[in-house]
């Protein structure tokens, strides 16, 4: 059932390798601006709990970068579908939908992992080095699994690259700002906290931040990410046939 996933993954990794020199600066620009504007300039004298705002911001930015880069695999799939027609090569190959989705999701997770590393290096340049133990990486991997799976599913449903941009604007951008990245949710009223608690990124930010501060990670955060990841992965597998004309 999973035979052939390595081909899908290898293709994405070869392309990533060839474009890495261009991608690394691209991945750095937005986080760098956030770190300078919010972390260094605005939040210089702000403390959140017992941590500086820069320390608070960095795990949130890492979770956000992991989400956006995992979701960016949707754009790669759409370019392959609508411009290069390479998706046809997968559709005519004797591989299952599961194998295809596995390859693309793992490619998204790899991008997310590399983008997270870029943020941590940038953070170190600003003098912020936190604790990056196993729980930190597990939370980031689960987060990227959720959004790479969602990306593959969405990429199968859109009819053009413009549709994909629309989805990104409505799903990813609001989540990036409201998912516990830039401010603690405890500052919001109860109904706001409940509402934002439905977003997977909120749980990823909680878990990543807790792990980075060497505090206990709440199991509910991991459970939500595992549940959301499972649902999105299933959605992706069931969506592949929709891409057929």
């Amino acid at each position: 059932m999973t035979r052939g996933w390595t081909a899908v993954y290898l293709r994405e990794i070869l392309i990533l390798k060839r474009r890495l020199a261009k991608l690394l600066p691209t991945w750095s620009v937005s986080p760098l601006l956030y770190l300078i504007a919010f972390g260094y300039a605005v939040g210089r004298h702000v403390e959140v709990g017992s941590h500086s705002y820069l320390e608070f911001l960095l795990p949130g930015l890492t979770a956000m970068a992991s989400m956006t880069q995992a979701y960016a695999v949707a754009s790669e799939i759409n370019i392959a579908r609508f411009y290069w027609h390479i998706f046809d090569e997968f559709q005519t190959a004797p591989i299952s939908n599961l194998a295809y989705v596995m390859g693309e999701v793992l490619a998204g997770m790899t991008r997310a992992f590399l983008a997270s590393l870029v943020i941590l290096v940038l953070g170190a340049c600003f003098g912020v080095v936190l604790f990056y133990g196993p729980m930190f990486w597990i939370a980031l991997l689960l987060n990227s699994f959720v959004f790479a799976s969602l990306a593959v599913g969405c990429a199968m449903h859109v009819k053009s690259h413009a549709d994909q941009t629309l989805l990104t604007n409505f799903i990813i951008t609001p989540m990036a700002f409201l998912g516990g990245t830039f401010f603690p949710l405890s500052h919001l009223p109860d109904w706001g906290q409940m509402l934002l608690g439905l977003l997977p990124l909120t749980h990823a930010s909680h878990a990543v931040r807790a792990a980075a501060f060497q505090e206990p990670v709440q199991s509910i955060d991991f459970l939500v990410l595992i549940g959301a990841g499972g649902l999105c992965f299933l959605f992706a597998i069931l969506s592949v046939n929709r891409a057929k004309a």
Binding site: V8, L14, H85, D88, E89, T92, A93, P94
Partner: protein, 278 residues
Amino acid sequence: MISVTDLTRKFGAKAALSGVSFSVGAKEIYAYLGPNGAGKTTTIRILTSLTRRDGGMVRLNSFDIEKNPLEAKSQFGLVPQQTNLDSDLSVEENLLIHGLLHHMDRKTIRRKIEELLDYMELSDRRQSLIKTLSGGLKRRLLISRALLHSPRILFMDEPTVGLDPAIRRSIWGFIKKIRNDGATIFLTTHYIEEAEFLADHVAFLDAGKIVAEDSPANLVSGIGQWAVDYLDDNRLQTAFFNSREKAGSYVLNRANGCTVRRVNLEDAFIAMTGRKIS
């Protein structure tokens, strides 16, 4: 080898295919000839599982594409009309990915890449990025890729469209060679000379229906052997004759501007449908 029964497909209210049926035998070159919009690409996309069908049955080497999709997919290679190579990857990397998608081991992939690049005279471009290749080289690479996993059926959708005559002829040579090596070839084309040169059997497709199917010689035999093109009231007309002598005497009785030529598949298509192919 290829068995298609009562294939139908609609796009909105328009019927792209209406009850198409045909079969292609082993080691045969079968040309699907028709004007643009006749349904050629839709047929090939359905046969290769890229487009859904509304009705009908397709079997590739006895595997039903609906009931045994993975087995059916492993039977064929596809040369698509539009180049769908990864432009960021090299020639070798494109072939490697294809081999892995078809569950070949790396040792066999390496050996087949060597063989095919040599066969298609592409060995010196092995490390070249796709974006640096000309249209003709890309076409040859698409054919190499389709053959990498040694399929028994090869689908070619307008394999020489947009190529200059010299490259077109060299690709025809490769197609004949591939058939002689044992593959069954199904090709769509709107080039008359391509179908005449390559095909053992030709199907005329018009408005989603097969209007005739036979060998090229039999398809043209019904209308004569020689044709005379002439202008009548500023409109090009064609008269058909069974011998060159009769065609010659017809020309002598007319004013200037007549052309005598052999009857071709387009004449047969026009005779059957009243429309031109190209």
